[in-house]
């Protein structure tokens, strides 16, 4: 495998890892606050649909992005209402959101555009275009670093850079701010937070809202940056892979970056059977590579590679007085 091929695989890794990373960080905020969220998939799907639809109607990818975030926030709000305000089962609420999104997107798209549950294709100006970083062309001649800068780092859409910038930001918010401390505490011991006079409900709603924003960006990225429109079920299980990555990352931001890049890399390398064959000199079944993220997660959960301990109050609604 030559250097350029490696860069191309890594380039593909970045594109594939971006929606996973955003969804993973979304889940991280929510679950750190004690709200399990398997509705990441549904929120991404709803955001993908509305961002594509609005971008088509308004001819602006940015307004589409806002609409996508809005759609995702509405679903996040429903999840919050069900699991925080009414103390419902968080897993059931998440499943319901996934079904709701899968059905509603197609239904609304069909009655809106009559194209069979998809949105019309976006013209090139209505999508997020790849951004060429400064001097990328000029520096591409520099050995090793030039191609890395030109091929790998440059030429992604602005949402990709935003997603990667979210990692240090998430770390800073969670571990260096008062809000973050309280948010983590509410996921471990909400009674203590309540005793300190801080609103458990408010904090949890804030976390769920942040989760909605990040899922919205992830969905918009898929529909208006990677693709040029919404197609039925286009998230194709990425929300679940993001959940697996979250467990793999043990609910930590930097680990989440590593886990999603690893999963993205596994997906990217699965697209290049020729490269695998050249490197390993035997043929690996593509199906095995597709299954690897899940296998790795099971290995982690079984405790072979360290222990993944979820936030202690996760999944349980907070009841003030018993």
């Amino acid at each position: 495998m030559d250097f350029l091929t490696l860069l191309q695989v890594l380039d593909s890794t970045v594109r594939l890892a971006t929606p996973l990373l955003l969804a993973c960080l979304a889940g991280l905020f929510s679950e750190r606050a004690g709200i399990f969220d398997i509705g990441l998939e549904g929120k991404m799907l709803a955001a993908a649909f509305l961002s594509a639809a609005i971008a088509f109607v308004t001819e602006s990818a940015w307004i589409g992005l806002l609409a996508g975030i809005g759609a995702s926030m509405v679903l996040a709000g429903i999840h919050g209402l069900a699991s925080i305000t009414f103390r419902g089962n968080q897993l059931i609420s998440g499943v319901a959101i996934n079904f709701l999104a899968a059905g509603m997107t197609v239904l609304v798209a069909q009655s809106w555009f009559s194209q069979g549950g998809r949105t019309p294709s976006l013209m090139s100006g209505d999508r997020f275009e790849p951004v060429t970083l400064p001097f990328a062309e000029a520096l591409s001649g520099v050995p090793v670093l030039g191609p890395i800068y030109d091929e790998l780092l440059s030429g992604h859409t602005v949402l990709v850079y935003l997603a990667f910038a979210m990692v240090p930001l998430t770390w800073w918010i969670l571990f260096r701010t008062r809000f973050g401390l309280r948010l983590r505490a509410v996921g471990e011991n909400p009674a203590a937070v309540d005793t300190a006079g801080v609103s458990v409900v408010g904090l949890r709603f804030a976390a769920v809202a942040i989760c909605g924003v990040l899922c919205g960006i992830a969905g918009a990225y898929m529909a208006t940056a990677l693709q040029a429109g919404f197609v039925k079920d286009m998230t194709a299980g990425r929300g679940y892979i993001a959940l697996a990555a979250l467990i793999f990352a043990k609910w930590r931001p930097w680990y989440a970056l590593g886990a999603t890049l690893l999963f993205g890399f596994l997906q990217a390398i699965a697209l290049r059977p020729d490269v695998i064959e050249a490197v390993l000199s035997f043929r690996v079944q593509v199906q095995l590579l597709d299954a690897l993220p899940y296998i790795l997660t099971v290995v982690i959960l079984a405790g072979f590679v360290g222990k993944a301990v979820p936030p202690r109050a996760g999944g349980e609604p907070y009841v003030k007085e018993r």
Binding site: R15, L226, V231
Partner: protein
């Protein structure tokens, strides 16, 4: 469990009986959905054409999950629909169980052979159509490398790939054909993001024409090919219009004709195996105003000559499904 069955049965019966009068034909769409811009949509177009021309009405059911297949067929048959057309190989097993229970009803299945006296099995010679577009791909390619992206990895899709590779090699014996499948589950028909990434991967291996036989996943393939300024080839329905000037051609599989024929014949439809190939315009390539500038006269002449040779039996295109192997491509 029984209660659940009763409810589900009642709901399905309600849904179906509410839609039409007795003895209307019916069509059942597979999981890709009837607006997949491709296979199922072709079936839908055929049914709509019949409706427009005759003023008749028909019933339709869109599959939402694997589990609904048998239920849908039985409900349609019990409520008197005749004939019942279903699109997709996946109905094969179910139909061979259901068909004997309703000897008065005629079923038609597309893309699979079910040997029952009241079943019409419509199969297409996709390898022949794919051979023709493979020739065009090889002639349009400047790099000598062309790609194929399939949906779910099933023998039928390999049949497309195999015919395509043979067509490519017939024009340029030194050409390289890269073939990838999007997955092994039905989700592989609806993952355009993966289709895009596969296209990128093939472009980085030098491909400059990509043929997508992947349902809605192909939407991503055609999109990325257009974004990266390489040519693509659509499938089943004419997809040239999706990206004018960027789609070289489309391999037409006239599912619409098959559905139309069955509907037009009504319950007198002939049963048995019905093979649609080049000779009866069951498959072919698309030429319209959107790709007129891409298809040269030389290309068209070569393809038409090959088509005539295949019909005459002078050129034989190997069918992957006949022996589960392909001389031109290894999977």
């Amino acid at each position: 469990m029984t209660l659940k069955h009763t409810f589900m049965g009642a709901a399905a019966a309600l849904a179906l009986t509410a839609t039409g009068v007795l003895a209307d034909p019916a069509v059942v769409f597979d999981l890709g959905g009837k607006f997949d811009k491709s296979f199922n949509e072709a079936a839908f177009n055929g049914a709509e054409r019949w409706k427009e021309e005759t003023g008749g009405s028909y019933r339709e059911v869109e599959m939402q999950s694997e589990a609904q297949r048998e239920q849908a067929l039985r409900r349609l048959a019990e409520s008197g629909s005749n004939p019942i057309v279903m699109t997709g190989f996946a109905f094969g097993n179910v139909l061979s169980e259901v068909a004997p229970d309703y000897p008065e009803t005629t079923f038609a299945i597309i893309d699979a052979v079910v040997e029952e006296p009241n079943v019409r099995s419509v199969v297409f010679k996709e390898h022949e159509g794919s051979f023709l577009v493979g020739m065009m791909a090889a002639m349009a390619s400047e790099s000598g490398t062309v790609g194929f992206i399939g949906g779910m990895d099933i023998p039928l899709i390999r049949k497309f790939a195999c015919g395509y590779a043979q067509g490519v090699l017939a024009v340029n014996p030194d050409a390289t054909v890269i073939a990838n499948m999007a997955g092994t589950t039905p989700a592989a028909w609806a993952d355009p993001v993966k289709g895009s990434e596969l296209t990128q991967a093939q472009i980085s291996q030098g491909a400059d024409v990509v043929y997508a036989a992947a349902g809605a996943t192909g939407v991503g393939v055609l999109q990325t090919a257009a974004d990266q300024d390489i040519l693509s080839i659509g499938v089943d329905s004419n997809q040239n219009y999706l990206h004018p000037g960027e789609v070289l051609t489309s391999m037409l599989k006239r599912v619409d004709n098959a559905v139309y024929d069955v509907f037009a014949a009504g319950d007198a439809v002939e049963t048995g195996v019905n093979v649609m190939g080049l000779e009866n315009e069951g498959v072919g390539y698309a030429l319209d105003e959107f790709n007129a500038d891409l298809v040269t006269a030389e290309m068209q002449a070569a393809v038409d000559a090959a088509s005539a040779a295949i019909i005459a039996g002078e050129t034989e295109v190997h069918d992957y499904m006949s022996d589960e192997s392909c001389p031109a491509l290894s999977f």
